[in-house]
Amino acid sequence: MGFTNEQLERYSRHIILKEVGVKGQKRLLEGKVLIVGAGGLGAPAALYLAAAGVGTIGIADADTVDLSNLQRQVIHTTPDIGKTKVQSAKETMLAINPEITVNTYYKFVTSENIMELVSEYDFIIDGTDNFPAKFLINDACVLAKKPFSHAGIIRFQGQLLTYVPGESPCYRCVFREPPPPEAVPTCRQAGVIGAMGGVIGSLQAMEAVKYLIGKGDLLTGHLLTYDALSMSFRKIKLPRRDDCAVCGTHPTITKPFDYEQAGCDLKL
């Protein structure tokens, strides 16, 4: 396949890179990434992946754009208030890069639909804001043998890790079970600094890009934490757990299931 002059210009800063080149850019154009959650994390991730020319991007979210989202969810704008987040995100992504395909899923991702959803993608980005969803995405990706990037943000802190099937510990190896509902505040109760989504969501996009082009080292076997107030990053080595309930030697979780949502997380 040949690139048009316009494509060469659009992706020139990528193609110039030895690690990307024509082959890497083609891989991006052929790549399929699913972003679960079009919020603080999903917004920057979706923007960078669209701009990078990731050919097929799926975006799932059951919410509509609210004024309180705009402090950090930079893919949505004030005139988008009231639109579904997936539609608003799609419009912005296509405005940046009309070459790509954006698949929208205006629904909650649940144990009923997640396996089918992830099966169509090469890499999954967890941009959700609650523990039940994070464990669900982890379990589904482990069971479907799909790589994914986990991330979480709250207040001035963020964290992320990357899972690659057969290689690295999964999210459940590290955190085992969700905390009891109400034990941990959501960002709606606790607050979050807007740029935190930009920092961590962009790192997730970077992991997806590196995975697709097959260059560099992924954040596997490690948890990266970022504290904005002390301006410190920590990279913590993580062991894989043989007795992990989903990726261990004798898994007890063999199909995805839903944890109960904390009352305040329900968005109906």
Partner: protein, 81 residues
Amino acid sequence: MADFNIDETVDITDVVCPVTFVKAKVALEELEVGQILAIRLNDGEPVQNVPRSIKEEGHQVLKLTDNQDGTYNLLVRKTEE
């Protein structure tokens, strides 16, 4: 100077920096190691920068010819995958 067997040609006079180098790089990626690419490029910035960038990528610049019409012809042997 010996003549070379040209395997492929690319014209980068229709684009500007940095797409000049990008277009040449793309053409080189399509070739096998050892094959020769002829690049037609403009005088000025392209002729100053493109041969240098190609050398930095590890390829061998064989010959640069002034076409006397504001363009040059650059022969490059692909030496790196």
